[in-house]
């Protein structure tokens, strides 16, 4: 039995079928690369995998259990990195990381320290969010991945605004996560090195331009 699987997912946005009958299954330690042109539904698929968006048909299972049975348990096992960084202008980097880690249900000082080291934001620990650059905010958001452990990482264009060194740090973090048996699902336009990742081209699942009622 695979750890995380999608069967026949169909997504409708604004009356238009974005993709249809999309399926995949992932084993522990594997990665999935989402590719496709604008509007092919990469972000929608990631939001669907997170449970933010409900598929119009099809289902998602974790170790054979449908995720809709217990959305909270699904929330506990995933990290979602979207287009916005969830960094408040008046909270410091350390406060932001501690807050999200505690809310996720596993705050430990050592993991937060480790997360800040991994993404080279330790010297920014006491800097409030309003002083951070776009790349630094993105690194704070990515540091959440390390600050509280969760097996499933859903990353929507995580390399946006990152410099080369930070992309390397992200690649290293993903490699370690997979080595520990975690799953990574990434959408990207830029080059991210993800060895032995399965590639999912969303245009292969584009629905014929049909009219949904």
């Amino acid at each position: 039995m695979s750890q995380f699987a999608a069967e026949n997912l169909t997504c409708v946005r604004g009356g238009r079928a974005v993709f249809a009958r999309l399926s995949f299954s992932l084993e522990p330690g594997t990665a999935l690369f989402l590719l496709g042109p604008n509007g092919s539904g990469k972000s929608s698929l990631l939001r669907m995998l997170a449970g933010l968006l409900r598929p119009i048909s099809g289902r998602l299972t974790w170790e054979g259990q449908p995720i809709s049975d217990d959305p909270e348990a699904h929330g506990a096992r995933l990290h979602y990195v979207g287009h916005h960084d969830a960094v408040k202008p008046v909270l410091t980097v350390a406060e932001t990381l501690h807050f999200w880690a505690r809310l996720h249900g596993g705050d430990s000082e050592s993991r937060v320290q480790q997360a800040m080291e991994r993404f080279a934001i330790k010297r920014l620990a006491d800097v409030p969010g309003r002083l951070l650059s776009a790349g630094q905010k993105r690194r704070v958001n990515l540091a959440r991945l390390i600050a509280a452990p969760a097996p499933l990482w859903l990353l929507d264009e995580p390399s946006v605004a990152l410099d080369k060194a930070s992309v390397k740090a992200l690649e290293a973090a993903m490699a370690q996560h997979r080595a520990e048996g975690g799953l990574v699902i990434v959408s990207t336009h830029a080059e991210i090195d993800l060895p032995e990742a399965t590639i999912l081209r969303l245009d292969d699942f584009a629905a014929p331009s049909q009219v949904a009622a």
Binding site: G14, G15, R16, S209, Q210, V211, A213
Partner: protein, 242 residues
């Protein structure tokens, strides 16, 4: 529900039932007006002005009825995601708002000869005024989103919350009214009914209901067609883009 949640089946149903509803509306309201205006007694206290009742009271009924339809359809749309229920809720709102407005305006016209003033903070009229604002809020929210699906969902939640609040508002306004006004004023607003007045009132009541149903069917039909046109255009845009 008889497969009517399917838009195509609903269109067929509307085509079949629509003319019958429209026909009975003309008959009912026509005969109701005949009895109401020419063939019923004037009130011994209010004289001929009592005939405003035949518009005022049925529109008050419909204002409340349309809100219930809107809220129940919204709840169905939220739980079962039937597209037609969405259209029903959204179609019901402007109709209910119009009936509520007719009730308020006819109430003011009735109030002038009766109370000597256009507006009295009578419990019923005040509740109808608040209901009118609930309709306005619903319609403003439904139209405030660029994505019509968002507007539909948000306004559906509002309709259900509003519906739960309506009895509380009604109760509080009644309580407030008895505190501030002598009870006799409210009494005269709804005179005890002479049997000869009851017939035209009932005819008008049923006639307004079929009138509402006719307009609602047409609105839902128009909304279904508008959604289809929008989807076809969207599909074209994306076909060109690809």
């Amino acid at each position: 529900m008889f497969g009517l949640q399917n838009p195509t089946k609903f269109l067929k149903f509307a085509k079949l039932v629509g003319p019958w509803l429209a026909g009975s509306t003309i008959l009912l309201i026509g005969s109701g007006l005949w009895f109401g205006l020419f063939n019923s007694p004037a009130d011994y206290q209010q004289g001929e002005t009592v005939r405003i009742m035949y518009i005022h009271v049925p529109s008050a009924w419909m204002g409340m009825f349309a809100y219930s339809v809107m809220a129940i359809a919204s709840a169905i749309a939220l739980v079962w995601k039937h597209p037609v229920a969405d259209h029903l809720a959204r179609g019901s709102a402007p109709l209910g708002a119009a009936f509520t407005l007719i009730c308020l305006v006819s109430g003011a016209l009735w109030g002038k000869p009766m109370w000597g003033t256009w507006w009295v903070w009578d419990a019923r009229l005040t509740s109808m005024l608040i209901l009118f604002f609930l309709y306005l809020g619903y319609m403003a929210l439904a139209g405030a989103f660029d994505d019509p699906e968002r507007g539909a969902k948000a306004s559906a939640i509002l309709a259900v919350v509003g519906w739960i609040n309506v009895p509380i508002i009604k109760f509080s306004v009644d309580w407030w009214n008895t505190l501030h006004q002598p009870a006799s004023v409210t009494k005269t607003a709804m005179p005890s009914i002479d049997p000869a007045m009851l017939l035209p009132l009932l005819l008008m009541g049923v006639g307004f209901t079929t009138f509402y149903a006719t307009l609602l069917l047409w609105r839902v039909r128009a909304e279904i067609l508008a959604t289809r046109i929008r989807n076809i255009r969207l599909a074209q845009i994306h076909a060109e883009g690809a």
